[in-house]
Subunit: 294 residues, 2 copies
């Protein structure tokens, strides 16, 4: 039937006038002042170019997994992933890439057996609480732009597995992975992995280059035929790219008043489409706004 | 590096021996007795065949949205969707299909303006509580195989939006949609839609035929060029298919002891990969087991 029948968008349709004149999450992001944004260091931007022309940009989180992130930076600087591929895409779970089938040695500077950087002390972290209950941890919220879970009494904090989160593939414990094999979450937040594996960042641009890939049909979503692997042309740090080609991004300061308003409306959707605001929101449904820097 | 570095699977690798000899969710499903399963009526199986050969099977939920589901059954019986298409795929949100751009009239038997079947009385529903906190509702759990949210004091219950959930596209309220335009969730559970739109079922087979489609680049994930629309050959009820071609499925009885064990291990992953079981689980990470009937 001819009509724009739709499900209200995660991001509200730009230009659609809300019936009740109340701001949407999109409105708040669009009108955020310059002071609401923090620039991502070009050393923390990992730029993955697929051989088919698609680009995936990842923000690294050195404050949460310093040894694993330093490994990834060293691997990128040594062109470790040139000729690598995405070899596993499991529906509603992860896309995974690297040099899984090669004997490529670790370049110098890579720590072959990093410590288990799965949690860190809560003390010293500035946190904006989510304000809604969580099924996996005593508390959840945001710290310097990242979604985190934490335990006020036990004193730990950790990065939370949300859509787009990037982590380090590993074998059974005590192996923690080195950083050569990475995965990105492409489905419902697999929060059961929190505190069990090292998260090192998140996809901030081009996640659909991974989430829309054909699913692998072998066990665990590996491609059955290696000819199905999706070739990677290169994975570089933005800081190693020629200045003219270097992409730049900024994220919303999660300690500031603009993010507080954004969080409030995410938990209380009252724009025209919504009849009943939930009065609560899941940690992973409050994606921290990230945008390309002009 | 040559090694099967991986992220533990949502379903544990078949054949991998757990170090601690504790059952995984997959083990419990594999060993479930015949009495743990309930057959889905062929009137509640909606079989969508894409023109490219892919098949998506949907289980309808007549107990939760009877008028909308009756509409969908009438539309299927009248071949309303022959020549329809998937015209919207928004990353981490929904895939949507129907006859959005046609003037196709409603076949007889279709209620053009159904009531807002967004919630129902809690009274009379048999519920297995999840046992973990929820950000969107006072309580969550399972009723006759479906993930639901509910309010013990206020007395309402509703189907919850999880990965694979199928709902009815609508315009602004009081429009509730008719059933001709449907969407399936292909990302993080958009629970903010609960109680704001009619859910009518879930994809039980072939969700990757929708989730791996290219994302639309127009606003809200609509395909910019209609040539990108993904043609649908037919959408039929299994009950209307020739007996020899008719697929059959069964789901796990969520009121039984096997599901109780499955739910417990989903919230307490202690198979070999996991170091720290979470002790809790999100409603949408406990996918009710569904399988093809032999």
């Amino acid at each position: 039937m001819r009509s724009l029948l739709l499900v209200a968008a995660a991001a509200t349709l730009v230009g659609a006038a809300p019936a009740k004149n109340l701001p949407t999450p999109t409105d708040i992001v669009a009108k955020a002042p310059a002071s609401a944004w923090k620039t991502i260091s070009p050393d923390d931007l990992l730029v993955m170019d697929l051989a088919n022309g698609g680009r995936v940009v990842i923000q690294l989180a050195p404050a949460f997994a310093p040894v694993h992130v330093a490994n990834i930076q060293a691997l990128a600087r040594s062109n470790y992933w040139n000729g690598a591929s995405v070899y596993r895409v499991q529906d509603n779970y992860v896309a995974q890439w690297g040099n899984n089938d090669s004997d490529k040695p670790w370049p110098s500077g890579v720590v072959a057996n990093p410590p288990a950087e799965y949690t860190q002390p809560l003390k010293g972290l500035a946190i904006t609480p989510l304000g809604s209950p969580d099924a996996y941890a005593p508390a959840v919220g945001f710290s310097d732009g990242w979604p985190i879970a934490y335990a006020p009494k036990a004193g730990w904090a950790d990065l939370a597995h949300c859509y787009g989160s990037v982590g380090v593939g590993r074998d059974l414990s005590p192996d923690t992975g080195t950083g050569g094999e990475l995965y990105a979450v492409i489905g419902q937040a697999p929060r059961q992995l929190d505190r069990n594996i090292a998260l090192v960042g998140r996809v901030i641009d081009g996640i659909d280059r991974l989430s829309a890939l054909p699913r692998g049909t072998a066990d665990l979503g590996f491609y059955k035929d290696k000819a199905q692997n999706v070739p990677i042309a290169s994975i570089r740090l933005a800081s190693a790219m020629p200045a003219a080609e270097r992409p730049a991004y900024e994220y919303m300061d999660t300690a500031g008043p603009t993010f507080a308003r954004y969080l409030h409306v995410r938990a209380n959707r009252h724009d025209a489409f919504y009849i009943r605001p939930a009065g609560g929101v899941d940690l992973c449904n409050v994606q921290v706004p990230v945008r390309k820097k002009a």
